[in-house]
Amino acid sequence: MISQDNAMSDSNGLLADLLARTALRDTQAFHRLYELTAPALYAVLLPLVRGSAVAEAILQECYIAVWLHAGSYVPAISRPATWLLSIARHRAFDYLRSAVAPPAPAPAEAGLAGLPARLEQVQPPALRTGLAAMDANVRASLVAAYFTGATAQQLAAQRTLPSATVTGWLRRGLQQLRQAVDGAAETRTPRP
């Protein structure tokens, strides 16, 4: 039995299998996929879109998209969790950048007050190391952007800073994460 806490991260094989069966219009497999993954996607959507009604509507759209396009999932390109999270996040961003979305809140106001402690548990370790090595301002901006969907301009306004400063922090943070994650992957992959 897979616990809900690690259902998305520790069950790639099962989720890939359920996606493959969903592509064949297996409704039982699709329901199981939903049971295992919807709680993680809903948890991501709630702070992003700041409202359970919108989060529920977007979650519904996500799984309709999964039902229709499960056949386009390619295991060699991404993990099932990454694929599903990408669908949910991109749909949330489409909503956030529309005229009807409210402005982005600070992470604490978005119900993410306990996030820093949880980030100390993030997997893979290279991602955790990359985050830990960042300047505090860079890390805070990057985490706020990722979890609340705030634009660089919105983050700058929240902190009364020039937009260019926050854009620079975000770019620097992304490059640090890229070096950490890709560097670790290269270390694991033996050169021919």
């Binding site: 919807a38 709680p39 992304l174």
Partner: protein, 234 residues
């Protein structure tokens, strides 16, 4: 688009996945992603790097009605129209007959679009629920992604709504074609090849979706326009 500096592409891809782009920049990246394979690969790479972050959030079980709504939407489609709508509730037959009559006009309009010789392509004529007069003509050559949309009678537009053109296959759920501008004639790019999206399709429809649901893969509620679609063979 392909001449963009790889560093700029990678920065944009990272910002896109992080979620820090504004509406215009995000729309620009979405446009790039439709045609630029390198950009698609860069976005996937950033998704693989960043999305494990999301798994630190404690799971939250969604309310049961979310699954119930999904289950209802994926249920096998009813034979005559997958989504219940007011279009079929009234004088359906009269509308179909009149709209089909409009197809004769549409054929003549299609000829210059598909090039010389006999037309090979698709044409649909859509009408509003309470008005049998054709409101929209959609036509397309057999191959490619382009459809021409001709506004015969602009439907009433509602603020914060976008109009989406759908193909209604004889069986199965509606297939999204594209967002359309019903205020003026124009061309739209189908998200799938025309031949694929219109395969086995005898009806087209237009739904009015909330702006935040512009990316929806299935229509909500009633169609504002609907009508027959035919394939023109050699």
């Amino acid at each position: 688009m392909s001449q963009l500096d790889p560093l700029v592409l990678d920065q944009l891809a990272g910002d896109y996945v992080l979620g820090s782009l504004g509406a215009d920049e995000r729309a620009y990246v979405n446009k790039l992603l439709r045609a630029n394979v390198e950009m698609q690969q860069r976005v996937r790479a950033w998704e693989n790097r960043l999305n494990p972050l999301a798994l630190v959030l404690p799971p939250v079980t969604p309310p049961p009605h979310v699954w119930q709504a999904i289950e209802q939407r994926i249920a096998p489609a009813r034979p005559a129209g997958a989504v219940p709508g007011r279009w079929f509730a009234g004088d359906c037959r009269r509308t179909v007959v009149l709209a089909a009559g409009g197809l004769l006009l549409a054929l003549s309009a299609l000829l210059p679009f598909v090039g010389g010789g006999a037309p090979q392509g698709y044409v649909g004529i859509l009408a509003a629920a309470k008005d049998a007069r054709p409101a929209l003509q959609a036509s397309a050559p057999r191959r490619g992604h382009k459809l021409r949309v001709r506004v015969l009678q602009a439907p009433a537009l509602v603020e914060n709504r976008v109009l989406i053109l759908w193909a209604l296959p004889d069986s199965g759920p509606p297939r999204r074609i594209a967002v359309i501008d019903a205020a003026q004639d124009g061309e739209v790019n189908s998200e799938q090849p025309v031949e694929t999206v219109l395969d086995g399709v005898s009806m087209l429809a237009v739904s009015a979706e909330p702006t935040y649901a512009a990316a929806t893969s299935l229509p909500h509620g009633d169609y504002v326009l609907k009508g027959p679609c035919v394939r023109l063979d050699d």
